[in-house]
Every structure is written in structure tokens, then in C-alpha cells.
């Protein structure tokens, strides 16, 4: 029976179909909002679906010099890793999350998988731009991993301390449970720096401006994605969509899981509204107003500001 429910969570809700639908519409909304902010008309809301449909009908070309197995497997790895992650995300008031201790740690280890898949794909494509994209992607990834780890650690220790367990509590279920009973962390001054650090981590991990360094189409022609097209690129986009859902959902769960009432459809809508707002403030606004950082600027930014903010929260939590 529990296997059945795990499969439902993986394939239908909150992972699988639900996550994909939400993430693709969010992406369409993001493109439209950016266009509106630049006073353009922008694409229709369902454009990401059309893009994926288009890519599925195209011919698949594989470079003769590419390392075939890795080139074919990389998008599958990226998508599978993120599809598994999406099942872990609790939707407060609707779905309590898969139980089991330490799921925050599992998420932390699974989150870099899309970036690693991009690196694998780029380096196996035998294109020099792919190799350049590989090194850029790796530098950005290494610089945002540290603040992310500290943010997650701060949340876990906060929950562990306040709920009386003493040690860090890495279970997403209890993090949500504690906040539902005692108020969200976004109202807790100790956790506000960590929240800001998390907001700064979002554009980096999604590879949107100003951190679209690895896939900059004007400098290195899409970088690792240069040789991908057709169905394999569609797989990458689906993986990227799952990732959007995972990191937005994780942000909501860690900092603002409050619910409105006990009626689940309202809570579901509320969750979606919070995801949209999170995306708007951390990605859409930033993306439409900035250019692209140089690699060294991005690395320096991540090691200075978000890392320092996350560290402040962590130290305050420990001193509490």
C-alpha cells in the first residue's frame, strides 16, 4: 500500500504531472511578465508546452564525434533526478510530505543533479563551446552550493532547537509541522538573512540573468546546450521545469508554509500563489532588469553576500 502511495506521489501529486503542469505554466508566466516589464507583448502563457511539443517533432541529430552513451543519457539523468525530488516537496495543508528522516539531506544531494547533467552533456558533445560551458556551469554551481548548504542547515538546526529535539532536524515533515504550529520562519528575525540568501540562490541555480553564465547564447552560443536539439533538448527542458518546481516549493516550505484554512483546495491555491510570488521577486524582476555577470563577479557575489547572510543566520541559530 505504501508503495502504491509513493508511486502516486512520484507520478501524479506533488511530483510528476502536477509539478510539470505548474512549472511549465510558471515559466510561461515568467516569459510573459518579463515581456510586459519591457513593454512588449510577449508569448502566450502555454508557450513552454508548445516549445516542448515542437522539440518532440524535430529530427534528432547527434554529433559524430560525441560520446554517444553519455550524450544520450545526460538529459535522462537530469530529468529523473529532479522528478524524484519533486515527490519530496510537501504542499502545506494538502500533502504532508514523504516521511522518513533526513529528506532535506536527500534533497541537498539531488539538487545539483541537473547542473551535473548539463556538464555531462556539454563535455560529451565534443564541442569546444560545450567544454567552456562545462567549466562555467561548474564554477557557478560550486559558488552557490555553499550558501545553500548553510541555509538548509540553519533551517534544520532552528527546527531541532525550537522543537526540543536538541540536534538538527533534517526532516521536511517536521520543519513544516513546526512552522504550521508556531508561525513561519519568514517572520522570525533570526531566519530573515537565511531567507534573503535563499532568494539570491534561486536565479543562480536556475541559470537566469544575471547568472546565465553557462548558457549565454551571445557569448558561447548556448554553451553545453549547443549540440542538443529535438527530443533530447525537450528532456532537458522538462528536467529544468521539475527543478523550478522543486526549488520554488522548497523555498515556500522552508520559509513561508503558513496555510489559510483547513480546506485543501484553498491551501493548494495559496501554495501556488506563494510559488508565483517567489518566482516573480527572485527571478522575473531580476532577470528583466539586469545584464550578465562575468564569471568572477558571480563567484565573488555568491561567496560574499549570500554566504555571509546565511552564516549570520546559522551563527544566530547556534547561539540561540
Amino acid at each position: 500500500m505504501s508503495l502504491f502511495w509513493s508511486l502516486v506521489h512520484l507520478i501524479i501529486f506533488p511530483g510528476g504531472a502536477f509539478a510539470l503542469l505548474v512549472a511549465l505554466y510558471l515559466k510561461g508566466l515568467d516569459r510573459r511578465l518579463v515581456a510586459r516589464l519591457q513593454s512588449r507583448v510577449g508569448p502566450p502563457l502555454n508557450q513552454p508546452f508548445l516549445d516542448i511539443a515542437k522539440l518532440l517533432t524535430k529530427e534528432q541529430l547527434i554529433p559524430a564525434t560525441a560520446c554517444r552513451p553519455v550524450f544520450l543519457l545526460a538529459p535522462v539523468i537530469g530529468m529523473a533526478g529532479m522528478a524524484a525530488c519533486a515527490a519530496f516537496i510537501p504542499v502545506p495543508g494538502v500533502f504532508g510530505g514523504l516521511s522518513g528522516l533526513g529528506d532535506l539531506l536527500v534533497l541537498f544531494y539531488l539538487l545539483p543533479i541537473p547542473a551535473i547533467a548539463i556538464m555531462l552533456g556539454g563535455s560529451s558533445s565534443s564541442s569546444p563551446f560545450g567544454a567552456m560551458g562545462f567549466s562555467r556551469e561548474m564554477l557557478v554551481m560550486l559558488s552557490y552550493e555553499l550558501p545553500l548548504l548553510m541555509v538548509l542547515l540553519a533551517c534544520a538546526m532552528m527546527t531541532g532547537k525550537l522543537s526540543g529535539a536538541g540536534t538538527a532536524d533534517f526532516s521536511l515533515v517536521s520543519i513544516v509541522q513546526y512552522q504550521l504550529e508556531n508561525g513561519s520562519y519568514c517572520f522570525n528575525p533570526v531566519m530573515v538573512p537565511a531567507m534573503v540568501a535563499y532568494l539570491m540562490f534561486l536565479p543562480g541555480t536556475m541559470g537566469v540573468a544575471p547568472f546565465d553564465i553557462a548558457e549565454s547564447e551571445t557569448e558561447i552560443l548556448e554553451g553545453p546546450m549547443l549540440e542538443y536539439g529535438g527530443p533530447l533538448l525537450a528532456l532537458f527542458q522538462i528536467g529544468q521545469a521539475f527543478k523550478t518546481f522543486v526549488i520554488l516549493g522548497l523555498g515556500v516550505v522552508l520559509f513561508f508554509p503558513g496555510t489559510l484554512c483547513d480546506f485543501w483546495p484553498v491551501n493548494l491555491l495559496w501554495f501556488l500563489v506563494k510559488c508565483t510570488l517567489l518566482m516573480f521577486f527572485s527571478m522575473t524582476l531580476v532577470r528583466s532588469a539586469t545584464g550578465r555577470f562575468r564569471i568572477d563577479q558571480a563567484v565573488r557575489f555568491y561567496f560574499r553576500i549570500p554566504a555571509a547572510l546565511a552564516l549570520v543566520s546559522l551563527v544566530l541559530v547556534i547561539a540561540l
Binding site: 510577449g42 518532440l56 541529430l61
Partner: protein, 152 residues
Amino acid sequence: MRLDIDTCLKKASVCSPWLFRINAGSCNGCDVELATTALIPRYDVERLGCHYTGSPRQADIVLVTGPVTIKMRDYVLRVWNEIPEPKVTVAVGICPISGGVFRDSYAIAGPLSRLVPVDVNVPGCPPRPQAIMEGVVLAKQIWMKKLGILEG
């Protein structure tokens, strides 16, 4: 009507044309106009679902500018061959159509239609952004014909 997934996918696919630019020795006038269609609020190609991509492997509609100089000929052919089927070729500006002001030059291998099948010509030196967008819309229709889903 029979519900046919293949036809549905094909119908959806023409709403997402990704554009790729090849500069075959253009004077840059046409390239600036192409950038105009993408970048300024007045002529937004994104509202047609278009997206300028940097990779030929992801392209659906290829926009060629310039008279195809002898030096560029092999590269143009090579990049053009890397674009997956079905693709639509649009010649932007008078240069790729007839050679334009470079017509009798010793250095050109064009016009473009001598090298690859051209589907849409957008004349002008440089063409207006409206004309380029009309060219993209025409290219979409030709794409539909190539997929075999255009009625009437």
C-alpha cells in the same frame, strides 16, 4: 474528427518557431534590423512564439543575411546542413536574393538560391522590421505545408 496525437503535436509545433541567424557577409544593416525585431517593444517577435537561438541544432527558421561571399560559402553550407529537418530558409535583404549592391563583385558566390533552397524572400536594403516579421509569418505557413497540416 479522429484524435491524432501526431497531428496535434505538429499543429502545436508551428507555434514555436526558433530563429537562427546566419550572417553570410552582410553589411550588418540587415542584422541590425533582425535585432530590432527581437529587442524593441514595437516589433516583438516573441509574441509569435519565436525565440532567437544561438545553436543551429535548435533552429526551425533560418534567416540568412548578406550576399554569401566566396569565403563564407562553405561555412554557410556547413551550418545550414546542421539544422535539423523540417527547416525553412528565409533570405533577408536584397543581398541574398540577388546580390544587391554587391551583384557584380568578384568576391561573391551568391545569390543564396544557387546554394540552398530558399523558401521566403524578404526584399529591402535593409528590409523594414514589419517586412521581416511578415517573412517569419510566411515561413510558418511554409513550415505547415512541409509538415502537411495546412488546410485550404
